[in-house]
Amino acid sequence: MLLRLAFRSLTNRWLTAVLTVLAIGVSVTLLLGVERVRTGARASFADTISGTDLIVGARSGAVNLLLYSVFRIGNATNNISWRALQEVASRPEVAWTVPISLGDSHFGHRIVGTTAAYFEHYRYRQRQPLTFRSGGPFRDLFDAVAGADVAAALGYKLGDHIVVAHGLGNTSFAQHADKPFVIAGILAKTGTPVDRSVHVSLEAITAIHVDWQGGARIPGFTTTLEQVRDLDLTPKDVTAALIGLTSRTAVFRVQRAVNDYAGEPLTAILPGVALQELWGIVGTAEAALAVVSAMTVVTALLGMATAILATLNERRREMAVLRSVGAPPRIILALLLAEAATLTAASIVVGSLLLTIALLAARPIIDARFGLYLPLQAPTPRELLLLAAVLVGGVAAGLLPAVRAYRMSLADGMTVRT
């Protein structure tokens, strides 16, 4: 009977109750959403590269090298010479080498100069290999392989001709218009920066730069497509290289050898270690996000405590009535705590529903735009723990008005002293 009365008391104030539940509900959605994005981001982040034992580049920090070679963010400080790379590649411990040459772009998408070994050895998400949605690796000098996002965004299909821009600007005026590429393959979606890259052969990179020097075309020089095919297109240098070893135990030996290479300053990094280091930096923002979302929950719960407190004055009569029929003050305490718990529990349900709806609506967009795969799943143990914490917080916030009502009802007795 008491619970029924408590429920009717709450429905009697339904507008306040609904608004309170919405406020807490939205904050719960935010809390769970941030948690989902956090784990999703962390997972896609760690899944970006796998199966590569070392990344070799010019001397720089591990994070920087990882950023430009794998995430294709930022620029290389320097290139490594083809000769140095060949020396590393010829070490007995090295099973395969995938050179990467960066610097050009296509409508804001990075052009990656590489070899066919790229499609064989690049691995993501638990050593999954790249697969072709259509076509295959480049066979001709001016063949290109588009990542899934590039193909989708620009509507490319096999056989389309594309022009590469010099440099990285979205609307570069310096274009390699004289040497167009043909789409020879389109990769399946991976959720990694590969999706946003266009892959061409190293020789093609050399070929389109034949008449160029220092970022500009040399006036008066035009090498035709036919002439360029006869040239020696072995690159002089590359930006970085992914390296696989015959045995993982050799990894530190090879790393030291690269770092100590006498010919030029080189750096070799372990992708896993660098990923962790990078996540350590990104993770601070992530932690800040989590703190902010937690604070919104705290704010909403305090709002609920305020809303309940505000009703106490008008409910003093109600409490005096309960006291007069013999309800002990602890019943009044319990009723108010039950109210806070009910509101919080309802908010958790509303918040979870809102998140599900939001995910259903926004998932494809988030996946397409940010390459972030957010699973639609039952709450994880961690999320359940968060929700339990919200409930405990709700009851704790409810203690504030409850204790006040308790003391008021003790002091008021049956007569309301105002």
Binding site: M1, L2, R4, L5, R8, S9, T11, N12, R317, E318, A320, V321, L322, R323, S324, V325, G326, A327, P328, P329, R330, G413, M414, T415
Partner: protein, 238 residues
Amino acid sequence: MALADGPLAAALRDVRFAWRGRAPFALAVNSLDIARGERMLLVGPSGGGKSTLLSLLCGVLTPGSGSVTVLGTDIGRLPGAARDRFRAEHLGVVFQMFNLLPYASVLDNVLLPLRFAPERRARAARAGVRAEGTRLLRSLGLEEQLHDGARASSLSVGQQQRVAAARALIGAPEIIVADEPTSALDRDRQTAFLHLLFGEAARAGTTVIMVSHDASLAPQFDRIIHLADVATISRGSP
């Protein structure tokens, strides 16, 4: 129950009570006896300590010193929970206004005290708890269609007071305590209300203790006590 066989419904001895805080107020009652089955009217001016005296009788407040004995039990010595239980079992209370939980149905309001008083519930349950509630409401003049459907807040003041009376009477507690229950009613309704209340109280031999500032109600009571004759009020710093 042996306690209830004593001759006195309530007895106050050397009671001292003080409100502290911004408006200090102290009440002293040297001696006040109320017999069982008596209908007693306590008259005094508004804000004269009548409600405080009733709160002491009901055990919602406890005296600083002295004893408040109700049905043979010194309720000032009972621990808080036992005092609440004692009040639930033995006392029915009617206020001047705002007696009801506005969002609950009329019948729920009437049955509310039974939740805290198993003995009263057992007594009311002889005819069925809801049947007893309905009977009381009907005999107090509330049509049956109001009992279950209507929210208590939709009733008129007079109807609300009758619901409050039914709630005080259900399960036949030994004492009814009423704090200006008729002051919100016009003269005719006052008389009618008291008539109904006393009628039901007489059936169960219930003691009625009522306070009012209105001495004109006196003819309907067995005994009139002026608060000034039994209690000393002091204000300001105690």
